[in-house]
């Protein structure tokens, strides 16, 4: 059996007990993880969870309050200047100059990264091709669509061919077509050996990563490949219910003793059972909904989605720790 080309075992990003405090607020509260060369590592979490703060510390833009880390072999506190030559960073706001043309933006970043004259022209053509902007090189950046801006920003972030790429919510608000094209680019970069660390608050997008850290209130609450997270963390069975008037049906389902909780999901419901076996909950749900006159199209035990897992992790964490100091930003 053939699998993907053997993944490198070389660690290129490594972080131990990293913390960042702003006053009394712990934006990042002690996280540890390692990323291998060529890996696409995702940070999934809501706004304010500490994703961007972590990325900024790894890029050498923000000094940690405690803990340590190495990026491309360099210390994130002492060697920040060296780190900056080895990484590409694309922020949520794309940092392009709207009043410059596409080409001028590329030239500007070539200058910042001090590309030698000989490479400049070649890299510019590469970015224009990659972003699909060859015919728009003299267009003002302000007139580009979100997807084009995003690909141009990515091109500018990798002009100097960094081996490590940090992407902070790169696809927020971009249409699904552009998002898919963007991910195709990320996959091909990763196949060239580029390590990618990407943050997102879209559950679905996080499944595109090789490995995922789930971050919530400054803590890493789960870490692993998406498929493993979905199968390992929930002890109880999850059922998908397709029926009419799901919002009314939910009230019936969540009152059943066999059901721990129920939530709207897509155009149906997801119910978490009290046991690992979906059977008893399945029977109870069908009987209760039929008794109340609901037409039920389908009840089925499913592999939990990342959202189911995320919700159960958050709830477990909030039960364990007192509802904390709410996020202050």
């Amino acid at each position: 059996m053939r699998t993907e080309p053997t993944q490198s075992t070389e660690t290129v990003i490594e972080v131990q007990n990293l913390e960042k405090h702003f006053g009394t607020f712990k934006a990042v509260a002690g996280i540890s993880f390692a990323v291998r060369r060529g890996e696409i590592f995702g940070f999934l979490g809501p706004n304010g969870a500490g994703k961007s703060t972590t990325i900024r510390m790894l890029c050498g833009l923000l000094a940690p309050t405690a803990g340590s880390g190495r990026v491309a072999g360099y210390d994130i506190v002492r060697d920040t200047e060296k780190i900056k030559t080895r990484i590409g960073y694309m922020s949520q706001k794309f940092s392009l100059y709207d009043e410059l043309t596409v080409e001028e933006n590329i030239d500007f970043y070539s200058g910042i990264y001090r590309l030698p004259k000989t490479r400049k022209a070649e890299r510019k053509e590469w970015v224009l091709t990659m972003a699909g902007l060859r015919d728009h090189r003299r267009a003002r950046t302000s007139v580009l669509s979100g997807g084009w801006k995003q690909r141009l920003a990515l091109g500018c972030a990798v002009l100097h061919e960094p081996p490590i790429l940090f992407l902070d919510e790169p696809t927020s608000g971009v249409d699904p077509n552009s998002r898919r094209q963007f991910w195709d680019l990320i996959y091909s970069l990763s196949e060239q050996g580029v390590t990618v660390l990407v943050t997102t608050h879209y559950m679905e997008e996080s499944e595109y990563c090789d490995r995922l850290g789930v971050i919530y209130r400054g803590e890493l609450i789960a870490l692993g490949p998406p498929r493993e997270l979905k199968t390992r963390h929930l002890q109880e069975a999850v059922l998908e219910i397709e029926c009419e008037r799901p919002n009314d049906a939910m009230e019936i389902v969540e009152r059943l003793p066999e059901v721990k909780e129920a939530a709207l999901f897509g155009h149906g419901l997801h119910a978490v059972a009290r046991a690992a076996d979906a059977g008893p909950a399945d029977t109870a749900i069908r009987a209760a909904l039929a008794g109340a006159g609901f037409r039920v199209a389908r009840v089925e035990g499913i592999t939990p989605t990342l959202e189911d897992v995320f919700v159960s992790l958050i709830e477990a964490r909030d039960r364990a720790h007192a509802p904390q100091t709410e996020v202050q930003r």
């Binding site: 979100g146 958050i314 709410e326």
Partner: protein
């Protein structure tokens, strides 16, 4: 009577056509979703329907009020929670709600009961003395909703209310919305989350200012040209490349460890996938037709611009790295 009706609604900014001839007819008590990427015209549409931005063309009525001529009456009938809803961070939860009650001229008599009810409804009672600036994203969003509801509007406009909010808060928020609908409120919501759009009674897919599709989520899913086949193998990335190269007439996408193939002929395509995967020596872990998501439909019906095609065979890095 319709809760919201728009006829040929249009808005241009200089040469940019932000909204291009929108027709909508939304019944009272509906949850109607407006779905599309940034720049599709969602916020512009909301601003026109809430009387904040005069349309360049066409007309609209909300709760029986014309959005141009009856703006003052309209404002009493609607609640609007914009993306940057104005909460005062240095006022407490309760003070923020009271502030909006004053703005809307909610009578003093009966006001305390109303405030208590809104606080309970949004699960904010235990936090009413907390400064709004010290709330989490999910709680701020619920406070925003409570403020938008202080004058008991009949139609509620919500502009991407759950963007970036954690999934537990998102679930809470939707429960509150359904409760409002039971009380007869009409909800017009825009969202970038396509899974969330599935919960609306009907929705409109907006793309470059135009309606791509309008209907129930099921009706919209039925617009998918062809079927979706999910392939899982021991080498997803190489499988995606293989299928892209060898599977004629199908579109192939890679989603983490799954490969999605859109095809008009499910059975022959599945057979061909089996052959190709076996010949390449990959282990087939799963092969099945799956229900397309709204995102799959969106991608299938918005033709991708040819200039922006992903350069599959283009090395992203030059040779001398």
């Amino acid at each position: 009577m319709s809760a919201i009706r728009a006829t040929g609604l249009r808005c241009t900014f200089d040469e940019l056509v932000a909204v291009d001839g929108l027709n909508l007819d939304i019944a009272p008590g509906e949850i109607f979703g407006l779905v599309g990427p940034d720049g599709a015209g969602k916020t512009t549409t909301m601003r026109m329907l809430t009387g904040l931005l005069p349309p360049t063309g066409g007309s609209a009525e909300v709760a029986g009020c014309d959005v141009v001529r009856d703006v003052e009456r309209l404002k009493e009938q609607i609640g609007y929670m914009s993306q940057r809803f104005g909460l005062y961070p240095d006022l407490s939860v309760l003070e923020n709600i009271e502030f909006y009650a004053d703005i809307y001229g909610v009578p003093i008599q009966g006001r305390p009961e109303k405030l208590e009810r809104l606080l309970g409804f949004s699960n904010l009672t235990p936090f009413k003395q907390r400064l709004a600036g010290n709330l989490s994203g999910g709680m701020k969003q619920k406070l925003g909703l409570a403020c938008a509801l202080i004058h008991t509007p009949r139609v509620l406009f919500l502009d991407e209310p759950t963007n970036g909010v954690d999934p537990v808060s998102r679930r809470d928020f939707w429960r509150i919305l359904y409760q409002l609908v039971r009380e007869g409120v009409t909800i017009f919501i825009s969202t970038a989350y396509l899974d969330e759009a599935e919960r609306c009674n009907r929705l409109a897919l907006l793309h470059q200012g135009r309606l791509l599709a309008l209907g129930t989520p099921d009706e919209i899913r039925a617009m998918m040209p062809g079927a979706l086949v999910e392939v899982r193998t021991s080498a997803p990335r190489r499988t995606a490349r293989l299928l892209r190269a060898r599977l004629a007439g199908a579109s192939v996408g890679l989603f983490g460890d799954r490969v999605h193939v859109v095809t008009r002929e499910v059975v022959p395509t599945q057979a061909r996938i089996r052959e190709l995967v076996a010949a390449a020596g990959f282990e087939l872990l799963g092969l099945q037709a799956v229900e397309p998501s709204l995102e799959d439909v969106f991608v299938a019906v918005t033709a991708s611009p040819p200039a922006a095609a992903a350069p599959a065979d283009l090395s992203p890095m030059s040779a001398n790295r």
